[in-house]
Symmetry: C2
Subunit: 627 residues, 2 copies
């Protein structure tokens, strides 16, 4: 389906907005009146610019308080309408958005509204224009889509149809299913917006907190299915009033918007039977299965010795050095970490590589979803992992063909050859080409049972929802409910994304504004799961690891909360082990001290504990002197 | 009354929080459990630090899910309680906050709750402690303060009383008047919070959007009166969960909090009869009448010639140069502008001086409200205007005694001697001392009728509500409802403060985050009222002023909206005059081009128009290329 965006959504001048929409590949825009009024360009210049950019101008909006008014006021409104129709002529726009009336002068008289709609439609038709009548959720007398449709039907004029806005419909819990009963050609326009349930009144909710489709909680898949059933053939247009979007870089915001519409169409396709002809107008993405495993994590660091010592202490083995580049491969069982130099840039997650069936298709899908291609220079004989930029890090894709990348480090076990390590020895000669094999590729006893549990990455406030949607749409991960974690520098919004089988667990933390420009003070981390966290902590201590120190007050509170016996508590205290419990089980875990902007967590999930230690996160943040 | 703050309100470590509270002059604090748990200090160290700082530790909080539970769970909770009472012993805290239960296991059985409260009270009393039972607005079975009091009464134990939190009571629209019926000695603690009506569910509203008393819309004066009638003698304690406060500098936030409690007490005093003994415990401020006039505005600039030319073009006369400093005095009728050099710092409002009956008292009041004294070096024979820092500018006070400051500029008309200019000639010798009298002190014809209409200043997001409260409390101005003005870089929250007779009109605009570090792109302005804005625009044009250019699209929209005739429109267009209308009248106005970070507005209010041209502000912002 064609994609469109209302210029009110984004920042900048009208000219900048048009440029951003075209650059992101949108098909058209709605011109928001204030953007035109405040523009120094004439309507003709705007029209020419859009034409040059290949953008269609699909709608002019909004026209307020037209119908349902006493005759003298309606006559006055018709005068206004005439002027705006003339303006639309100059812009080359066919359709005008007419909102249901909110004026205190409006009359509760459906017959009057219908007849005034018809008269307005005659005026519009005389200029070859159409009126798309929209029920605002807070319209005085007309505030449901079905009511607006009944009035349009009664007006019975070819130039009068409805405009359907998902926010006005779904914010009130209205059922979109009846949309399918409206003749498609009478649906003149469709605006899409999502929103989180904030427990707010609908007007401020609508004006400040709309989100792109997929970023909120509205059931937009069913909404679009109903549109398709009605036979709607117009564009899907984003009309998102969001205080953050209004301040952000428009070029970036529009890419996020375009992604949301593509991902929504893909989800609608998935909800329909493959043979259903309704799928035909929906833009398809390269399909992938939900991503179920992380292949390896690349950590950029200016402190490789310190970080390497930490990795070794928790059970990793240095298995090789890249034959050409200054990069090290660490492995513990099937968990791989690559360390690359980051001169003067601290320590952080540079990239994450995930396992997919077809790396090329996965990368194409990510790019179709608006992610920029990430290029990593390789020589012809090296595995070229395709990837994209994903917020503050890069995302790469590994498939069976590309799993041989480990041989460039002299590791004889291909990255996907889990359990087949015994056969790998025969490949040693392939790996001998300048690479330095350091370990035996099997790790220590502790390491063999170590599994990547989750990654914890950070994102700034203005990019947070978009990055969540990017991960969700590119990897087919599933969002859990976000939680707020208190730190000494503000609340941290924490969003878990998981693959359906929890093979991939990804936590995205929103950096408090006060720390936005000091990301070194807000570290990321890699969490590793072990069968026995206390034993792992003891083994790490023997290997020289000094865990993050945990305050004594914390252990006293643990005793009060869980009645932990003194001896256990003493062990935990000595090893820096923390404990949390949920309804099903418990979590035992410890943290390493932060190296640059990164630390490691080693954890043990007991009896099906599924959380991430929410009560312990503030203790950890304070111990890390965040703030 | 004693003032107190819950450590959860502010950012930083527990130690930093204690320091900030003591520095701001608070009497005590509530220790929020998580602040202690995450602290590396022992309870004894915290106790010693507070003692050294002269802070009392008034409350430990929160204790959740104690009563209304089945017996085994209650027994477990009693175990937890015992540990916390022991901890309180070490901290030297007497009172524990017990929240009404939210556990799904809780039972709807008042008799059970009362008996469990009594048993818990016995445990507390054995350690010399007290339990302050608080009804959370979302407590499962106990969620009104009256219910909590009935349970406390039924528990009938000296160690069990209530804690009253204004948020939990007023957020639900509950009537605080019955508080007066609770025996004062059974009200163990009082927490105060304000909030704006956001149309949100009470839980997220409470957790993220509480404000200091006076910053929101709650009727806290009546709340405190009811407390006094009950005979409550404990502290007024701030418990403000606010996402912005949590990220802000704690030292600054606490000063804001202390101000809010002092201003609240002053308002309560004002609401009581002067002879009412209930006033006795309330801390008083130096009293002033509402400020009714601006004496002069000081503009700091690195472009004095350009700014001076603009001032002259709109009707100001340069009346003198300061005899000692590089400062110029411009006057138009009774409106005075002082220009001082600001090397390389652009142009902005450096200070505003207001007219008060007693400048010393007004300044003392401002300092009692936490504002820092602003010192301007003067020689012994010069008028030393007392003043304070007020956000991004300074605030000075002028009374009859200090009105002679103009003579330092050679101006013979004292700043308060409006209408007495004719007598001023006799004072000329006083002014001759090195100062340069430039004009005749009467201004041009245009200038004589020019009146300061309003000031428009900016404030960053994190300081916005606090600066509004500062202006309100220091000058006794009155807030109007805020409005959102769209700019190309985001929504601008705009807050009008007025004196009761509108002699002072002060607009505070919240800078969008995207422009927070680029204030030169978000100018302040001085608005001057004239009897005929079109004549003033013509006269200014003759004097060489080039007004801010307004887009043609704006005039076409004016024609559509108001049916303005072509000739009038042509005049407005030529002169850069804008037009807005409200229910009563209209506004005609024009803007000068921005000099550095400041511009002038000249306006004419027609037929009692009281607004500020909300529809024109976005046009102005776009024309100024904000964004």
């Amino acid at each position: 389906m064609r994609t469109c965006l209302a210029t009110v959504c984004i920042s900048g001048s009208l000219e900048e907005k048009l440029d951003a929409c075209a650059a992101a590949g949108l098909d058209g825009v709605e011109i928001f009146e204030q953007d035109l009024i405040t523009s120094a360009s004439t309507p003709e210049e705007i029209r020419a610019r859009a034409a040059r950019l290949g953008l269609s101008l699909d709608l002019y909006q909004p026209f307020r308080d037209l119908v349902g008014l006493p005759e003298p006021l309606f006559e006055k409104a018709l005068g206004r309408l005439g002027a705006k129709l003339e303006l639309m002529d100059r812009l080359g726009i066919d359709t005008l958005l007419v909102c249901s009336t909110v004026s205190p002068d409006s009359v509760d008289d459906d017959e009057l509204v219908a007849s005034q709609l018809r008269r307005a439609g005659e005026l519009a038709a005389a200029r070859g224009k159409r009126l798309a009548y929209e029920a605002l959720a807070w319209g005085t007398h007309v505030n449901t889509y079905w009511h607006s449709w009944e009035l349009v039907r009664a007006a019975d004029h070819p130039a009068v149809g409805v405009c359907l806005d998902s926010f006005h419909i779904l914010s009130k819990g209205d059922d979109p299913e009846r949309i399918a009963q409206i003749p498609g050609e009478k649906i003149f326009f469709v605006q899409l917006a999502d929103a989180q349930p904030l427990g707010m009144e609908v007007l401020p909710w609508s004006r400040h907190h709309r989100l792109f489709p997929g970023e909120g909680g509205f059931e937009l898949v069913g909404f679009v299915v109903a549109l398709l059933r009605a036979g709607y053939t117009g564009p899907l247009s984003l009309e998102i009033f969001n205080d953050v979007f209004r301040e952000a870089d428009p070029a970036v915001t529009v890419v996020d918007g375009q992604r949301s519409l593509r991902w929504l169409q893909q989800r609608v396709r998935g909800a329909l039977d493959p043979s259903d002809p309704l799928r035909e107008p929906l833009t398809a993405l390269p399909k992938i299965e939900p991503v179920q495993a992380v292949d390896h994590v690349e950590i950029g660091t200016d402190a490789p010795d310190e970080l390497g010592a930490q990795l070794a202490a928790v059970g990793f083995t240095l298995v090789g050095r890249h034959r050409r580049k200054d990069a090290l491969l660490f492995r513990a069982g099937d968990t791989r970490v690559v360390i690359t130099p980051r001169h003067g840039g601290g320590t952080g997650i540079a990239s994450v590589a995930v396992v997919v069936a077809d790396a090329g298709a996965a990368s194409e899908r990510a790019q179709a979803l608006g992610a920029d291609r990430a290029a990593r220079p390789v020589t012809p004989d090296e595995a070229a992992l395709p990837g994209v930029d994903a917020g503050r890090w890069q995302l790469f894709f590994v498939d069976a063909e590309l799993a041989r990348w480990t041989r460039e480090f002299g590791d004889t076990q291909d990255s996907l050859a889990a359990g087949a390590a015994a056969d790998a020895g025969s490949d040693a000669e392939t790996a001998g080409d300048g690479a330095t094999a350091v370990g035996n590729g099997l790790g220590s006893n502790a390491g063999a049972s170590l599994v990547l549990d989750h990654l914890n990455l950070t994102e700034e406030r203005g990019r947070f929802t978009a990055t969540v949607l990017l991960l969700e749409s590119v990897l087919r991960l599933v969002r859990q409910d976000p939680v707020d974690v208190p730190s000494r520098r503000g609340l941290i919004r924490s969003q878990v994304l998981q693959s359906p089988d929890a093979g991939v667990r990804w936590v995205l933390n929103q950096v408090p504004e006060a720390l936005a420009h000091r990301s070194e003070r807000f570290p990321v981390h890699v969490a590793l799961s072990v069968p026995d966290a206390v034993a792992a902590a003891r083994s790490a201590a023997r290997a020289g690891l000094r865990p993050l120190p945990i305050p004594e007050n914390y252990y006293e509170d643990l005793a009060a909360r869980y009645g932990v016996d003194a001896q256990t508590l003493a062990t935990w205290r000595e090893l820096g082990v923390l404990y949390d419990a949920d309804a099903s089980g418990g979590l035992l875990h410890f943290y390493t001290r932060t190296v640059g902007g990164l630390f490691l967590e080693v954890l043990q999930r007991v009896d099906g504990y599924t959380g991430y230690g929410p009560a312990d996160a503030p203790v950890r943040l304070a111990a890390q002197a965040i703030g």
